[in-house]
Symmetry: C2
Subunit: 218 residues, 2 copies
């Protein structure tokens, strides 16, 4: 298909598609004439992923390029490509503070992962951005007067594991490794607001059950 | 205590504390002389909450004021204050698009809540910001080529309910209603990065278990 059709089918303006092509977020089409290229279904699929990352995930262009490069790195096996792509996704603010709260948070997270017996999390350990994000969050809780112990985190970690199982179930529905990789990246980002909103809806439900003096609504 | 001590004990610069006082995020201290006021432990506690909202939760000043006003609204019972405060927290981007994907998402979320038998979520229904955030997220998934059915969302909703139970368990550790309210707001915001980072760490763990050709690390 030509650029105009790619734009129509994806809902992405042609100027934006040209920008993504220039930035290397979308592979070039097949050259047809000096000024025209042809695009196929793989471009449409990739465009969806780029939109998911940039519009919903608010991923900066440079990080998006890094994620997409990992998806295409044929020197890696499937699991490593998946890991590298998710690794390159932004992970929220990281603290640069290195105080007593940060030390305590590192110890708490190390102990948590040991208690959970998550072999890979211990192997990759402190190098992973998700690990640093967790340490930052725990340190911030401590600094703000809400210290959290390993026991406080354990239920959240177990819930996190269940979420990861649901995520991987969704991803395994896709047949080809390429589709699985794209789905992994897109769904990791796109399910964050789903999860956070369901948590808040459930909080209202649970808070009502525990505290509402009127009892359950009719 | 004087302003200087409040600053020292909270780690918040005096200029920032004065700004919070002017913006009504912190109640005024007790006037001692024409130029000096005295502050107590309740100011220290409130200052922690304001920092949690603004620094970690990136809550705009106006929303923070709305949350704090709800916490202090003595015309409301405990559960309603809790609900109003969390209600006023920002809920991420909301879509203004009103297309077929938005219609489908509304139907999916309605059916989800009916299936879950969450009485309060159905009662407050479409008015709640968390509900709108969920509809937006589901509609975005649909537009980007990852439609989600009620069955896809059910495991996330059940996980959300478990999270809410863990949240309320943490909150109920605080003895007074005032502390519970502050903890509810602070922990709702502060545990979001904890949860999202644990999900990503668990994804690497679960993905390795399912796909890693080398098997589990030693």
């Amino acid at each position: 298909m030509r650029l105009a059709e790619l734009s129509r089918r994806s809902g992405v303006p042609t100027a934006t598609i040209k920008y993504y092509l220039r930035e290397g977020l979308l592979p070039p089409g097949q050259r047809v004439t000096a000024t025209q290229s042809a695009y196929d279904e793989s471009h449409l699929q990739r465009l969806r992923l780029v939109r998911a990352l940039i519009q919903v995930g608010r991923v900066p262009i440079a990080s998006a390029r890094e994620v997409l490069t990992a998806l295409e790195d044929e020197s890696l096996d499937h699991n490593s490509r998946l890991g590298t792509a998710v690794w390159a996704l932004p992970h929220g603010p990281e603290s640069t503070e290195d105080d007593a709260a940060a030390d305590a948070a590192r110890r708490t997270v190390d102990e948590l992962l040991a208690r959970l017996d998550w072999a890979r999390a211990q192997e990759y350990g402190r190098d992973s951005p998700a690990h640093r994000m967790l340490v930052t969050a725990v340190a911030t809780l401590g600094r703000l007067g809400y210290p959290c112990a390993v026991e406080d985190l354990l239920p959240y970690a177990r819930t996190g594991r269940q979420l990861a199982e649901s995520d991987l179930d969704l991803i395994e529905r896709y047949a080809s490794p390429e589709e699985q990789l794209e789905a992994a990246v897109a769904l990791t980002v796109l399910y964050e607001p789903v999860l956070l909103s369901l948590r808040r809806i459930a909080q209202a439900e649970e808070s009502g059950r525990r505290f509402d003096p009127r009892g359950a609504p009719e």
